[in-house]
Each structure stands twice: as C-alpha cells, then as structure tokens.
Amino acid sequence: MDKHEGPDAGTIRLDDPWYDALAVGWGEGEGGEPPPPRPAAGGRAAPGASDIYLEVQRSAAFQEVRSRYRGFVVPATAGFLLWYVAYVVAATTAPGIMARPVFGAVNVALLAGLGQFLSTFLLTWAYSRHARLRRDRAALDLRWTVFEQERDQERNRNRNQSRGTGR
C-alpha cells in the first residue's frame, strides 16, 4: 500500500483554510442563502472568483498538471477498458479458445480472469505512484495560488468598501 503518505496528510484538518462549515446545510441557522456577491465599489468591475479560475486555468503550471493527469489517465483508461471488453467478448463468444487447457485444470479463461485481477492491481499501484510523484505537489501549489488570489481580492474589496463608506 501507499506508505509514502508523510505526516502532512493527517494535519490538514479543522485548520484547513477551505473548511467552511458555516456555508453548509440550509435551514440550520438564520441565513440559509449565501450572501450575494457584493458589487465592487467605485463603479469599476473588480475581478470575480471566476476570473481567478480562468487565469489559473490558462497558466502554464495548471496546463502542466492537467496534461500530466490526462497523459496517464487517458491511455490507461483506454487500455484497461479495451482489455476488459476483449475479455468479456472472448468469454461469451469464443468459449472454445477460453476452454483450452494450459496446465492441469487451469485453462486460458482462468488465466485471463486472474490476469484481470493482476492488471487492476498493477494499474492501481502505477496510478497512485504517478499521482504522488508527478502531480500532488504542483496541484497543492496551485491550490495555494488560488487561495492567495482570492484572499487578496477580498482584501481589496474590503478596503474599497471602507473607503466608500468613509467618504
């Protein structure tokens, strides 16, 4: 199993900046609806959250994470689905080939079935290794980037607002 988890996995708990317990569940407090987005003061449209996401989506760092993810997942998914469909089709339409004995009572069908188990275990291991080594760190960095940009945006908005009311 995945033993390289490190101590960090358990520590991101209640102090997680995204843990937003109050926004969850309607009818529990007075205000069920989330507050509507405040219009930016000064008539100039401030960048909304969606702009941040568009910007991050276009960034090279995100494109890299996405292409690494797709570069593994697309061929692997195509591969195991093809292998599985081939197995099912062979089992139903070519029982003659599947019944051919290999050694003792073990025949092609049994080997193919056990091969499905084996390939599943191997792909699971390969995927989790690939994600751990090639994606996790970059994804976490991006998560922080988004968080910081949102925080800056919030600060600017508050500053503008307090300036607006002070006038």
């Binding site: 995945d2 009818g27 568009l54 991050v56 003792g104 275990f121 699971t124 994600a131």
Partner: protein
C-alpha cells in the same frame, strides 16, 4: 437446520447488533447535528478507515453470497461477475474519486450543479440516485430474506418477512441517530469481520485440498456434472446469443456502474483531501480484490465439497452456498463444529447486509434532502433543518425497499445488484463524466443525459424477462415482455451518453467558459474544496 445452529447464529448476530448500536450511541453523543456531520462525518476519516469502509460498503450480500453461489452453480460464469466488480474500481480511481472529492460537497448532484443552473440538474440527479439506491437496497433485503429462509427452513415464511422488516427498521435507527459517523464505523467493523470470515473459510477449503488449487478445480468440475465445461465460460451465458448479449450487457454495467453509485460517491466526501480519497480507493481496491480472489476459492469449494445439487435445493439461485460450505467445513451439518462455523458465517452475512443497507440508506436520504427536497420545497415553506428531512427520508426509503424486497424474494442477489449497476451506469456516470471533462456541456445536456439513461434503463427492466413472461420473473402469470435481455446496460448506457451529447448540441445555452474553468481547476487542484 438444527436449533443449535439457529441459537448460535442468533446470539452472534445479536452481538453484532449490540456492538453496532453501541457504536451508534457512542459516536452520536454530543453531536451537533449539522449536515456536514450527518452526511459525511465531519470529513475527518483517515484513508485507511475510509478504505475499509468503502470495502465494507461495496462488498455486499451480492458479493459474499451471490457470486460464490453463482460460481458454485455455474462455475466460471460466476467469476465473470467478480472481475467486473473489481475492474470497475479503476474507473473510480482514475476518473472519479479525486475529482468528485474536490468539486462536490455531499452528493453527485453537487458536482454537476456547480456548473449548471441548479434546480433541474439537482432534481434529475437526485431522482436517479434514489432509484439506484432503492434497487440496490432491494437486493440486500432479498439477501437477508434468503439467509433467514436457510436458517429457519420452510417453516420460516413469517420469520422471513419479519426479518426483512427488522433489518429495515434497524438500518433506519442507525442512520437517523448515527449519521455517517456511525455508518462508517459499522462498515469498518463489518469489513474486518467479512475479510476474517472469508480468509478463514478459504484457508479451510485449501487445507482440504492440501493447498492444491488444481485439485480443487478438478473435483469441482467432477462434482458439478458438467466436467471440464464447468471451468470455462458458457454454462450460464453461452446457450444462445440472447444470453451472450445479456452477459456483455451485464459486464458493461458492472464496470461502469460503480463510479455512479451514490453511496460509493458519498464515501469520498468523508476524508479531508482528494489525496486521502485516492489513498482510500487504493486501500479499497486491495481489500476488494483480495476478497474476490477468495470468493473464487469459496465458490469452487462449495461446488466441490457441497455440490451444486444440494446448493440448488437449499436456494434456487445459489445465495446460500457459502453458509452451506461453512457447515460442511466445520464437520457437517449435525456437528458442533459445523454449527459454529455456519452460525459464524450467517452472522457475518447479516452484518454485511446491515452495513450495506445503512450506507445506501444514508446516501439516498442525502439525495432526497439535499437535492430533491431542497429543490422542490416551496420558497415560503416552514423552515426545517436539512438533517431532519434526511431522517424522515431514511424512513421512507426504508419502507419502499422493504416492500419491494418482500416482492422480489426469489431472485439472485448478485443479479439484482447488476440491475442497480446498470441504472447507475446509464443515468449517473454520463452526466458525471461530461460535467468533469467536457467544456461545452450545458444544463440541457445534463438533464437529458440523466433522464436519457434513467428512463430507458428502468423501462427496459420492466419490459424484460425479469418482471414478466418467464417462470422465474416477478409476475410469472402475465407477459408484457418485449426486451430480450435481463440487464438493460448494453442499450441504456450508450443512450445515456448519447442523450447528454444530443441535449448539449441542441441547446441554445452558451456553455459557461468561466464555470468550466472553475470546475476544471478545482477538480484537479482542490482549490476551494470543502
């Protein structure tokens, strides 16, 4: 079965109930009853805990009783099931687990609704999730019924009904009082028990054959009366082209259905991060894969030691093969050893059913309260807390599942689960994958894809030989059977994908570029995830 069996099984089972009720009270002390707490246990489980709970949620009566029974009766064709059930986890691991954890909050609909106009999407996804859950629940109820039938013999019709009702009532208690936290711990306990039981029986079977797997296969083939054909595909699904297509349909449903099961999706929300979700799936795959490897030994062992005829005599669809095998391994039906092992296995099977039933009930009550009720309630209706609605929903869903479970008493459990998988794969998976990966997907596409998979799947089941027109069907007296296959997957899954595509290309709505950017960035990085 002897009274000794019954008493022992009842004692063990009562012990499990006592322990799980204890867990429920323990975890629900000073609980603050928030939705976060009720649906996902505060998102504080560790990957290993969640991995065991996923395994406990997934390895239902269908796996333990159904698959081994099918192997005992039909040899290799039963094994085809377990391959599908396992390979399906790669779809979950690669395409769903992490992304859903990052994008959603409690249910499948959360992921889709984040990009779309919320109400219609929530109603559609909620309706299909409830349908899948009810079908899956019926299978568990049938499993409970056949176990009791075995324990009490033919005299137990009333007891069978009572048990099914009792199982339903218990699960409502667990779910309403304990929420996700209690449900998870029940599943962990059950997964440990189930793995323990399976390992014990597997070792005993292999010891009988002196560790010689080859000899086990040979004796199974001899005892089955089919000879070598027992070890190769074709006994159940090879007679004609209808049954061959039936299996292809089932195979497709199994491999694509898991990723659309509401109670599995909701498990990914119980861990703090996407990375933890991934690691829980890795744990789950190890446990589930190991378990299915053992069911192969158990199934062939039951064929070799008990014999298909005796299995069939006890339960026509093979659901009781493993308990019979346990009694045999313990020294035979009349002996103390046999009684102990039999009771042990029967109690584990009960525990399995209860735990799975609790998981599904919780997930479907979340769909009702969080998706359906929240979208359909009148704006000025009396304000009720979401958790209270979910508790009421659990009772309602339990009642429906009990009623249907009593009706479907004589069908094979693994087969019934196959139907639930087909509906999940047709209605839930297309919309989920499109939302996560297709930039141009629109609200109309989402709604069409859910109904375009759900309606054909359900209609085809109603028109299939399962419901009418054959001696084994639900209503053998009438015939409105127009669809030849028992499993609708081969037709309804492509229809679900097609409907989603069609709805999208015909809709006038401009796909939201920014919304997709948000979904994509969030799903892959975890930004903004709860």
């Amino acid at each position: 079965m002897t009274t000794e069996h019954q008493t022992l099984a009842l004692i063990l089972f009562s012990l499990f109930i006592a322990v799980t009720l204890g867990i429920t009270t323990w975890v629900s002390r000073n609980r603050h009853g928030s939705a976060e707490e009720f649906y996902v246990g505060g998102r504080l489980f560790s990957p290993m805990e969640n991995g065991f709970a996923i395994a406990g949620d997934y390895m239902s009566a269908a796996s333990f009783l159904g698959i081994s029974g099918l192997i005992a009766l039909f040899g290799y064709d039963g094994l085809l099931y377990s391959v599908g059930f396992l390979v399906a986890w790669l779809v979950v691991l690669f395409l769903v687990a992490e992304l859903v954890r990052n994008c959603g909050r409690f249910t499948l609909a959360d992921v889709v609704a984040a990009r779309m106009s919320e109400r219609p999407v929530r109603i559609a996804a909620g309706a299909s999730s409830v349908t899948v859950s009810v079908l899956y629940l019926v299978a568990q109820m049938v499993g409970a019924g056949s176990l009791v039938g075995l324990l009490l013999g033919d005299s137990g019709t009333a007891a069978r009904t009572l048990t099914v009702i009792g199982v339903g009532a218990l699960m409502v208690v667990y779910v309403s009082f304990g929420g996700m936290r209690a449900t998870t711990w029940i599943q962990i306990v059950k997964a440990v028990l189930l793995m323990g039981g399976a390992v014990t029986l597997t070792v005993l079977v292999l010891l009988r054959f002196h560790g010689d797997f080859d000899q086990l296969l040979t004796s199974a083939a001899e005892r089955s009366g089919h000879g070598r054909r027992f070890l190769s595909p074709g006994l159940k699904y090879g007679a004609d082209w209808t049954s061959r297509f039936d299996f292809m349909s089932l195979g497709l449903a199994l491999v694509l259905g898991t990723a659309g099961l509401p109670h599995i999706l909701s498990r990914f929300y119980t861990v703090p991060t996407a990375r933890a979700a991934r690691r829980s799936v890795v744990w789950a795959i190890a446990l589930i894969g190991g378990f299915y490897l053992m069911t192969i030994v158990l199934g062939f062992g039951a064929a070799a030691l008990v014999g298909p005829d005796e299995v069939r005599a006890s339960n026509a669809s093979g659901n009781t093969a493993v308990p019979l095998l346990a009694a045999f391994l313990g020294g035979g039906a009349g002996t103390t050893g046999g009684a102990v092992l039999f009771a042990f296995v029967a109690a584990i099977a009960f525990a399995t059913i209860l735990a799975v039933v609790a998981g599904i009930t919780l997930a479907s009550s979340a769909s009702v309260a969080h998706d359906l009720y929240a979208s359909l309630k009148r704006r000025h209706a009396r304000q009720r807390s979401e958790v209270a609605v979910a508790r009421v929903a659990a009772v309602g869903i339990g009642a429906v599942a009990i009623a249907l479970g009593l009706l479907a008493q004589d069908l094979n459990v693994a087969f019934l689960v196959g139907l639930a998988f087909a509906v999940a794969a047709s209605a839930n998976l297309p919309v989920l994958l499109y939302s996560l990966f297709w930039r141009g997907f629109t609200t109309r596409g989402a709604v069409w894809s859910v109904y375009g998979g759900l309606v054909p799947a359900v209609v085809l089941v109603v028109l299939s030989p399962v419901v009418s027109g054959s001696p084994e069907s639900l209503f053998p007296g009438v015939s409105f059977q127009f669809f030849p296959l028992q499993n609708p997957g081969l037709v309804s899954i492509p229809l679900g994908f097609l409907a989603g595509w069609l709805g999208t290309v015909t809709s006038a709505e401009e796909p939201g570029e920014a919304k997709y950017a948000e979904t994509e960035v969030r799903s892959l990085t975890g930004a903004g995830a709860v």
